[in-house]
Every structure is written in C-alpha cells, then in structure tokens.
Symmetry: C2
Subunit: 155 residues, 2 copies
Amino acid sequence: MPKTQPASKAIQMAERLCRERGVRLTNQRRDVLAAISASTRPLGAYDIMEALREKQPKIAPPTVYRALDFLQAEGLVHKLESLHAYVGCQHPDHPHFSQFLICNDCGDVDELHSAGVTGSLDDAAHARGFEPDHRTIEVVGRCARCLAQGSKPAP
Amino acid sequence: MPKTQPASKAIQMAERLCRERGVRLTNQRRDVLAAISASTRPLGAYDIMEALREKQPKIAPPTVYRALDFLQAEGLVHKLESLHAYVGCQHPDHPHFSQFLICNDCGDVDELHSAGVTGSLDDAAHARGFEPDHRTIEVVGRCARCLAQGSKPAP
DNA sequence: TCCTGCAATGTTATAATGTAACAAATCGTG
DNA sequence: CACGATTTGTTACATTATAACATTGCAGGA
C-alpha cells in the first residue's frame, strides 16, 4: 500500500504546519516537497534537481540539499538511507518515529509507525545505557502486491 | 561497550567459517577484514583502501568494494548505512539480525541482537503482507560512557 | 601434467551522492 | 528605508560507488 497522500494535500499540510511553527516554507522548499510528493517512488537529490530543472534551469545541488535539510528537520520528508533517496512523510502533523518497508521489486515504500518496534528498540538501547536520538529502521523485501503477482513490474 | 573481539580472533573465526562453507577467504578479503577488525571505529571503503595501501600501493576502489561485498554476504562485516562505513560482525558464527547503537560523541558502535526488535519489526511488516529480506536498524545517540562523562572525547 | 573453465583481481574511467565557501538576494522588522 | 538575519545562488570540489573489460589464479578433469 504505497503513497496514500495526494501531493496537493501534502503541500497544504506543510503550509499549515510551517505557519504554526513560525518557519518559512519558501518557494524553493515547497517545490522540492512538491516534487517528492508527486512521485510514487523515493527520489534521489539529483532526481529532484531534474524535476525542478523545468522551472529553474540553473538549479544546483546545494539548493536541493538545503531544502531537503529543512524538510527533514521539520519532519516533512524522510531520508531512506539504504536507497540514498527521499520520501514524503505520511503523517507530518504529529511527532513519531517511522519504519520503512521497501519493496525490492516495485520500489514502493510503505511508512509504518509501530510503537512496538520503537519501544523494543529503545528498551534494548537503554539496557546498554544508550540514549537514542535518531533512528534508522528500514526493511527491504517484497510487498504484498508483488508477492501476490509474483512478477517484477518495475526494475 | 565497543569492540569486544580482537582482530586475530576475528580472522581465525572467518577462516574457519569460510572453510566450513566452502568459500574462499582470499588474501585480499582477509586483509580487508583485518583492517576493519583492527579498527575500533567503523571504516569507510576509502579508509580501508588507505589502510591497505602500505601492502598494496596500487589498490583501487573496486578491489575493496568487492571484498566488502563478499564479507557482507558471508556475514563477516556489516555496513552502517547511516555512516557509509563498515564494522566487523561480533558474532559471525550464527545467523542473526543486528541492530547498531552509534555514539554521536565518541563514534563507537555497539552491535545488538534483540529478538524483540526483530520480532516486532517482522510482525509489523507481516501485518502489511510484507516479506522482509534485509533489515537496516541503526540508532544514533550517546553511549553510556559519553553520557557519564558528559564530554566529547573524539570528534 | 596440462588444459580448461570459472572465480577473483587488476585497471581505467566515470557515475552518483554530498558539501565547503563565499557572494548575492530576500524578508521581516524597527 | 535601512538593518540584520535567513535564504538562495554559484563555483568548485570531496566522497562514495560502480561499469566495463583485461588479466591472473585456482581447482578439477582429461
């Protein structure tokens, strides 16, 4: 079950959250979020650059990375470390820790928020006297749809 | 609590496991494993290259990456996605899924094997009909030692 | 032993991802 | 409008990783 949120909704939500938080969702940042939200797949920073090149032919990497840094800090996008790519957050309106299910076959990504996972991980960390700050939890495998049809739709 | 296993032990274990499995722990691969095992910190691929340059002045990236691919496939080293770096596996002799605690201050890495974490994550995945293959579970924060002394020993 | 086939390594070049450093523009505010 | 702070532009480069093809080395059978 990939991508529930339509792009326009994601932007609206981001507008509201940034307004409430007193931070600026500039055009640049909105455009980057829009590109990510419009995609059914995780986008790399350079994919995003390509997507924005239509509007901004001279866009350079630092611009994209800066926008991504902002969006991540505000919890509006997540980075998938194992793909070097970015996805829109499905529930940016409340704080949470996410886990990601990444399908090897179709490339779709599903965002989970399992309290059990976060809880047991933090428990295990605390048992070693470790104080968690940021968590990266990603599972690569096959999604329900691809398991069902047994094919490899998108390489 | 970082790095329990001395490098020589790690090599011995790797020798044995590879023999049992009928795969070849070549000099190249052993040297890479040795470099990783000798370090108290995760090493990047290019760090490993530097470490091997003494013995092999002309070593190139593909050599290192190929050895790393092999060692990962055999469960002898793990890749830390959030650091783009590699550590030796602390328990290569039996199959397991690991979680990593990465200290922001001192850079040390602790390898966990919490059945609870793996179990709850796989449960959450299965609840979505997802079949897990590979898991990346990394926690960045502060380790017990750094919390205790409140300083930042190693940048 | 020698050949042969496959696995491993060497070599060159380049792709993909990410950042440093400083200049210019823009925004909100007094 | 002028000011300071934030944001963006721009150039150059650092870091991580892989493609492609040549060469070497190793094991097993003729």
